[in-house]
Assembly symmetry: C2
Homo-oligomer: 437 residues x 2
């Protein structure tokens, strides 16, 4: 029977923008590696596929009101690897603001030291303020970032394959440490990149990290169809998720790839209570801890419009909202537009809606209800699994692991223990064949 | 009483180029993180100051004959951090082939997750083949690399200071997570770099990682005098080491800095036996496991001259050897010239001399003799401590920790336990003051 894939998406404090203010959160531990190691151990005890960290090379918003600094994923995941043994480790890294040789080394090393648990969330970096941290006058436009990203993936793939699987010999008697005829320069010369290679590390347990992609714009979907093995996505409704799922799987097929080997994993931020009223009260409690100054800035970033100064309890002024089609916005823009069209919210309602998980699916209910919704999306052609985004940590994840996961297991939808030891094995993905001489 | 600082310099297999062929080595574990974690734990049990990894963004030599692939230091040290609690973690990273914003994040994160144990060995990258992995036609010349390196250190220092120490507030009641008036852009615009900042991570336990430098060319010494807090160096004789020590401390003073706050740490590769004859036999055993094809390539890299085809048991042909002064060679070139002038070796003798530790001080003796030589250099104005470079691992380190360290302790030269918990504390260095508003 087809099984869910479940990742724990970790944000310091939790995904709700006011998470750190919740009495169940541990905001004094947001820089404490043991807090994250314990979360990963908890997720591993629940047989989750992976933990996942988002990232970007700039300060992403106003940290006055929210725990929105950045943990550096390579170092953080390496320290988590050392405290776990099975769970996958997915880190975000930018094709726009890193050198492919450096990125290839970091992931190869993470894959080696974790015994084959690395995953790469491939991003082109959406935040325009990153450019000024890298000597650029402006952030490269969407299309140019994606052009470089395609080439970047080609280059790092070739670097990860530059040592054949059996290049490492280690025969003290003959004195051959490695068979250098099985280590190849890549000699890449392209539009954006020139890299000779080879990599300076033997091929890794997984061959390559799992390729993950997370943008749903047309460029993003085309990129995912060509390269991704898992796609992280954000949808507010079953219908939207189904449409995306069908579109993406079709695109994958059009690329000549097997749609079953590309996992579509929407985000879900579940507020869980022993009754539905209790779950809704938790969500309300968090929403009421938000700070409008911050929420308005977040909305400004997503929508490109500053609504501060307007009556928060009045309707979102439709004439100020862009009508879509602005290509460079990325996919989250469309999600926000969808909420406005569908729900006609007040500004405050919209702010609360987005406070939960920045445009991801926020839902509240009993463990049975949450499990039911997950099953509905999973069996209804909307998802192969989920990025679980607890509204606050660690309690918001504990209740998911303790209460929702057992229901999913009883319904035969989720593993009780790991069958394999690498992230590729958890996701049911093949190990990419290496080069041969 | 003044105390030695001791680092364990870790190379896969060991420092001798034939280490991996020695029966006491564990070459099948060179990609196994637990091997390195156990080494670090062993060094921590001996109250060593730090473990240290060299690095470069290219394949550094012919891996056919030696374990000369590269472990990526940030990931590797993060996983080691998770398995230790006190020992310092020094990683090499390049100012030529990394972006300052990325490097600043990686070290800040390593310092956070290790509780203040990070050290940065600042290199400009000597290996010319690195250039082709980064889209460059040629490796920037020595002087240009150093010009960028000075500016690079300014930039990352400013990034590490861009959050004031008390910028993180985390007050759930008032809703203030961080005091944004205490987080400052750096607005750097210079010859080689433009970086706006701020960093996206709070200031770290040590404020900044310990700054380490390892080149002894005139440019390198000037750089060390200005920036370094520890200097890794290579000398063959007490006299050379004394001359370097005096020169460097004088340069530090000329920069207006306190010479006591710059630790000079030569490399020492000790072959240890219960008798001197046994120690020499170990060294000979390793030397005899070398492979001349490889050793000649290494010599070619250090000296710029290919001596293959010559009689290995004939003298080094003096007319082929450059006469020095070639500025772009770096400091190891001078060390090799010194050996040739002083010892007039055969080619094979020279190859064996360099096989031990690539130009670092190779010595053989009983634990008493090794401890005596260390004491002589330490008290004789040649060293503040050492980078211990075991000829093979792990046994070559075990005997140092078990036999030499206790003698150093009996003589009052080395701590029996840690007094502090950060690398700065181990080295007796102050925590750099942060910015204030």
């Amino acid at each position: 029977m087809r099984q869910l894939n479940l990742n724990l998406f970790i944000y310091p404090g939790g995904h709700h923008e006011a998470a750190w203010r919740h009495p169940g959160a541990e905001p004094h531990r947001v820089l404490d590696i043991t807090y994250y190691q314990q979360l990963a151990q908890r997720a591993e005890a629940a047989a989750f596929d992976a933990v996942f960290f988002a990232d970007g090379p700039s300060l992403p918003g106003n940290v006055r009101y929210a725990s929105r600094f950045r943990l550096e994923p390579f170092t953080w995941l390496s320290a988590i690897a050392a405290a776990t043994s099975r769970i996958g480790l997915i880190g975000t890294a930018s094709t726009t603001y890193m050198e492919p040789y450096n990125l290839a080394r970091l992931f190869a090393s993470l894959d080696h030291l974790s015994g084959g648990r690395a995953g790469w969330n491939i991003v082109t970096t959406g935040a325009p303020q990153a450019a000024a941290n890298f000597g650029l006058d402006e952030h490269p436009v969407h299309a140019r970032r994606y052009a470089r990203a395609h080439e970047f993936v080609e280059v790092v793939s070739a670097l990860w394959d530059s040592w054949e699987d059996d290049a490492l010999v280690v025969d003290p008697a003959s004195g051959v440490f490695a068979d250098d005829t099985k280590i190849h320069p890549i000699d890449h010369v392209g539009e954006s990149l020139r890299v000779r290679g080879p990599l300076n590390t033997p091929r890794t347990p997984q061959g390559r990290p799992v390729y993950v992609q997370a943008g749903s714009s047309p460029d993003g979907r085309a990129f995912a169809a060509r390269h991704a093995e898992a796609v992280f996505t954000a949808h507010q409704t079953l219908a939207d998720a189904q449409a995306f799922y069908a579109d993406l799987k079709r695109r994958v097929k059009d690329e000549g790839r097997d749609p079953d080997l590309v996992k579509v994993l929407p985000g879900i931020s579940p507020h869980i209570g022993s009754t539905e009223a209790e779950a809704r009260a938790l969500q309300r409690e968090l929403d009421e801890l938000t700070q409008p100054e911050y929420s308005l800035q977040q909305l400004h970033r997503l929508l490109g419009v500053d609504l501060s100064g307007h009556d928060l309890d009045g309707p979102v002024p439709r004439d100020l909202v862009p009508t879509g089609g602005r290509h460079d916005h990325g996919s989250r823009f469309e999600v926000v537009l969808g909420i406005i069209e569908r729900e006609r919210p007040t500004i405050r309602q919209l702010l609360h809606h987005l406070a939960g998980a920045r445009g991801h699916w926020v839902t509240a209910g009993t463990p049975e209800q949450i499990a039911g919704r997950i099953e509905q999306w999973f069996l209804g052609g909307a998802a192969d699994g989920f990025n679980v985004m607890p509204p606050y940590l660690t309690g918001g994840f504990d209740v998911f692991a303790d209460e929702v996961v057992p229901i999913l297991r009883r319904r035969g939808l989720f593993r009780t223990e790991y069958a394999g030891s690498t992230l590729r094995e958890h996701y049911g993905l093949p190990r990419p064949a290496g080069r041969s001489s």
